[in-house]
Amino acid sequence: MTVTAEKPARTEDNSRPTAVKAGLLDPGQLWRSLPDALVKLDPRVMWRNPVMFIVEVGAVFTTVLSIANPSTFAWVTTVWLWLTVVFANLAEAVAEGRGKAQAAALRAARQDTVARLRDGRSVPAPELKQGDVVVVAAGEIIPGDGDVIEGIASVDESAITGESAPVIRESGGDRSAVTGGTKVLSDEIVVQITQKPGESFIDRMIALVEGANRQKTPNEIALNILLAALTIIFLLSVVTLQPLAIFSKGFQAAAPNTQAINAHGVTGIVLVSLLVCLIPTTIGALLSAIGIAGMDRLVQRNVLAMSGRAVEAAGDVNTLLLDKTGTITLGNRQASAFIPAPGVDPQELADAAQLSSLADETPEGRSVVVFAKNEYGLREREPGLMTEATFVPFTAQTRMSGIDLGGRQIRKGAAAAVMKWVRDNGGHPTEAVGEIVDGISSSGGTPLVVAEGNRVLGVIHLKDVVKSGMRARFDEMRKMGIRTVMITGDNPRTARAIAEEAGVDDFLAEATPEDKLALIRKEQEGGRLVAMTGDGTNDAPALAQADVGVAMNTGTSAAKEAGNMVDLDSDPTKLIEIVEIGKQLLITRGALTTFSITNDIAKYFAIIPAMFAGVYPGLNTLNIMRLHSPESAILSAVIFNALIIVALIPLALRGVRYRPSSASALLRRNLWIYGVGGVILPFICIKLIDLIVQFIPGF
């Protein structure tokens, strides 16, 4: 017996991990994250971020100096140096905080259930092993990830997907995977557990959104190296300045001792201020927040990336493999025309087509009924009202379906099957019908021949319907330099027609899983990165081979294991969004790095004259911002340096605006905003801060 232990009642609106709206940052959130930010001041934690660690060491140093030699300037500067570190931690804490809210909600779903094994034993869910077989009845929570091996049930997966409509899970096929923490609504299923203890999907999801064992992605590592190198260069530049400063001060005997420089050289506080302003603190402070927020944005879209590496790879993708059905076209073909055989009244064909499809619950069948109603004004007849009717269901053997209505026998189905049936009934299908069938086939459509008795009445043209807006999307992709390849089981002719209509760059027809794998390998050998979606077990090798493999949540466990992302909405078009999120992540990093580096120019012009104008008054020429005093100039630069971190937290979390376009256009735009803007903005801001700071007594 599975029991739900103390599960708190979940109302409808929090049935889903609280989705924090991306990009919006309310001040309360900053405030709530403050304790976390303070905890992160622990040097053992700070050490992991070399840039900010240097700032912290500097802040400790100036604190000591301020205690030893107190002044307003020393203390105010020290406070702002500390704030710089706190703000950096705050950025990370806020980013993590959003994940924590989601994790908390997920944890609620991972209740301490007791699993009922098929052999009758009861085991606490966390102790389930791979291969255990459990029975789950209606109203019970599925104790762990696994595959349904017996039975069929409707399952509420809202705890994970946020989608309240129940889904069907049944043994065999591609809908066998169930996730621990979801709830069986009806019937009973037998589930074989596929997860290892503590590694359930929900466990991984929690770890993921919390960023618990977040590993630095390749790009982040490379960027960190550059930032560390810049930090070392500036550290050297500042430290080696001291002997030169001492020499200069000694030479200029007329120079009075100031708060910035005295006989022992530049004062510690000013030296640290210079260092902190020059090293790339802005990007250093926001780097991990950007990474966490990037993952978070995926989670917002119901995609779980198993590693940050996969998110980055998504930005790099050169080739997208898209399954035709469900991604490019609507899931099913639809009737688009009734073409009567020579001598047959179109109305008669429409009527027969409608009758033959009345009991056909497949989407194709329904589309015939709808088409007949819309185009021929035939009212839908209730199958239940036609008592004398016998419905002939579709079978793989007959490859046709139909209706026996009194003496009438109406069939529709694959051309060859129906023609044979007609001939068997003594009819002689005309050549003309064959031509119609061929015509439809060659245009990429599917012909369904409709016959009554020994007469062929005509052909229903079933057509793949390309989803609206796909062509524009693929054009965007092309602009981004991404090649789209449609994968389909259709014959090449049909495939080509649809590919042309949808506007994809290429297609793979009559694709077997092996073909798919081979295509991926071929692309990768050419140096390209490949992304694909998949759900079936036979997709697993390709999903594993692809650089970005997005498994559908509805898919099999094997597929989910093989891919490096899972789309909880099971929406294959999501792949395109994933690529965009990957790109946005990289762009945000690049933009803030550029911004951080270009900021230095203004800071140099604030601090250098402030530091040395006391020794060489002529250097005040460099004070192009006309800052009030050396002290106010240095403090203003430090304050700007700290505030810009807070100001950019929303941007770091939201990511810079991304619109699909060519690399040149993107570069130009971002360079103007973050490069040129990064040069100009600090000049203005430091000046403004200085206008305020000068009113502090002692400046």
Partner: protein, 547 residues
């Protein structure tokens, strides 16, 4: 006006030779065939010209060759009094010999000595001049190896150092040297083995007119961006630079190879436009620098230049101020370090420019070879930052810039500033700055300049410091050694890492690296990331003096 025409004609001349000469060098380094002379050299050296080297072997070959060269030259200097043609010069002292040996092998050609009173003819031609050739070839070879790394697809090998060394020396450097040596002799440069001639001057005094194989050494001094003068006065000396037009030719020779190598790069990676982009980066910086230097010098700011009414101190009448300033910019934009006027007596801002040129890492266009690899490293850094902004893992010429590449590139840009800044700071901490001739800010500039020049393997001097002491010889020698070989090994490692990669095909999503926007970014990165590092130090030197 004439001064600008001087610059414009130089640009035109370099533009004319860019393609043919670049293509010629491309054939030299890419061709399969070896001439008889080259095959003879391979046999004598004992190497197989067809064997390919991995980056590690290539780098070790470079290091072995350079180490043996330093040792050889050191010995040469230490025993010169026992050799013929020594003109009675004594053996060079140990620290002087170390400094000079390192200096010439590293293509720095910093001179702690005065040529006419220290070096005999044999040491000049068979010792120093040989290194003028081969140190240049080493630089080009390493640059070519890096470019091969970009051009290669999934390979381990980068060519053969000995083949590159031999071909560049024999096919490029030597023939040009022969031609221009004759031109220079015709212009009045001396080329003899005489110990000098004593003359009685018009007013009855005596003057010792010096001799020596000057012309043959002068060409390679400029062509190989070496810069070590036969005489102390370097290219200001009438025997090293007799006329205004030899001055023009010397600047042309300084720029010839560095400004043509981007063509080789473009050819080798199969996209000439990539070469033009690199050329544009170097060209933009060089032009701006020359314009500023000439501008500052002609403007003649500062007390003494105002008193004089021109910045004529330390400059020759036949060259005049604008051409001297052009030379000063050219010699520091490359790693040459020859001077035709003395930088110490430039105006404060005019003297800052050569320093800034070197601080940029000498990438515009830089020393032979070293300039190209320096600028490619900057391009890699730029691609990394900019590449992220287009939303992809940054790639340059199809090669992904990942953690490993960034590590190497970052260490590269870290090395020279570290050497320069630490060296300068040490000089002040230990009080060795006291040998500077000038006081105050200008004295600081002299020390800063010395380490900047040594660390960047330039070799020009602000002058003014007495540097032939044990401390200066040792520390500057170390600065030159680290400033040359650490970056060089990093470049080779980068080449190896790039060669192994499969290339990513370019698409609309690839950031173009041949457009003006990218050129502008590389220039920006050079200035913001590299040059600004020195801003605090510059403020206490030239800027303090100027304002």
């Amino acid at each position: 006006m004439a001064g600008w025409l001087f610059v414009i004609t130089l640009i035109l001349a370099l533009a004319v030779v860019y393609r043919p000469f670049g293509d010629f060098m491309y054939r030299v380094v890419s061709g399969k065939r070896n001439s008889v002379v080259e095959r003879g050299i391979y046999r004598l050296v004992g190497i197989d010209p067809n064997s390919e080297q991995t980056w590690g072997v290539y780098a070790r070959s470079v290091l072995a060759f350079s180490a043996v060269s330093i040792l050889f030259l050191y010995l040469f200097l230490r025993i010169q009094s026992h050799l013929p043609l020594s003109l009675g010069m004594s053996n060079v002292n140990p620290h002087g010999a170390w400094n000079t040996a390192v200096s010439f092998v590293t293509n720095t050609n910093w001179q702690d000595y005065s040529g006419e009173s220290t070096m005999g003819h044999l040491v000049q031609m068979a010792g120093l001049s040989v290194q003028n050739f081969v140190s240049a070839s080493v630089g080009i070879a390493v640059a070519i190896a890096l470019v091969r790394g970009f051009a290669a697809r999934k390979t381990q090998t980068l060519g053969n150092f000995w083949v590159d060394l031999t071909r560049i020396t024999i096919r490029v450097l030597l023939p040009i040297s022969v031609i221009f040596a004759i031109v220079f002799i015709a212009a009045g440069m001396v080329q003899n083995l005489s110990g000098g001639t004593d003359v009685t001057t018009l007013v009855g005094g005596t003057q010792h007119i010096t001799g020596g194989p000057v012309a043959s050494q002068e060409v390679i001094k400029e062509l190989g961006t070496n810069g070590g003068g036969f005489y102390n006065a370097n290219s200001a000396h009438p025997f090293e630079n007799p006329t205004a037009w030899t001055n023009w030719i010397q600047i042309f020779l300084i720029f010839l190879i560095p400004f043509s190598l981007p063509r080789v790069f473009g050819r080798m990676v199969g996209q000439n436009r990539q070469g033009y982009a690199i050329l544009a980066v170097a060209g933009v910086i060089a032009l701006a620098s020359i314009a500023l230097t000439v501008g500052f010098e002609v403007h003649a700011g500062g007390t003494v230049p105002q008193a004089v009414s021109a910045a004529m101190e330390g400059k020759e009448v036949r060259f005049g101020v604008p051409n001297s300033a052009t030379f000063g910019a050219a010699t520091t934009l490359t790693s040459t370090g020859a001077v035709d006027g003395f930088h110490d007596s430039y105006t404060a801002l005019g003297g800052m420019m050569p320093m800034l040129n070197m601080m940029l890492g000498e990438v515009a266009p830089g020393g032979v070879g070293s300039g190209l690899y320096g600028i490619l490293i900057l391009a890699v850094i730029t691609v990394f930052v900019a590449g992220l902004m287009v939303g992809r893992t940054p790639e340059y010429l199809g090669k992904k810039i990942t953690g490993r590449e960034m590590k190497l590139a970052s260490l590269y840009i870290l090395t020279t500033p570290a050497v320069v800044l630490i060296g300068t700071a040490l000089a002040f901490m230990t009080g060795h700055n006291s040998t500077a001739l000038n006081t105050g800010a200008h004295g600081l500039s002299e020390v800063l300049y010395a380490f900047t020049s040594a660390g960047n393997n330039n070799g020009s001097a602000f002058g003014g410091i007495t540097v032939n002491t044990g401390w200066w010889d040792t520390s500057l020698g170390l600065a030159m050694l680290i400033g040359r070989f650490l970056p060089l090994v990093l470049v080779m490692a980068l080449a190896g890492s790039l060669a192994k990669q499969q290339a990513v095909p370019a698409s609309e999503g690839t950031m173009p690296t041949h457009k003006p926007l990218f050129v502008g970014m590389v220039v920006g990165v050079s200035i913001v990331v590299v040059a600004l590092t020195f801003f605090p130090a510059i403020a206490l030197g030239p800027l303090a003096e100027a304002f």
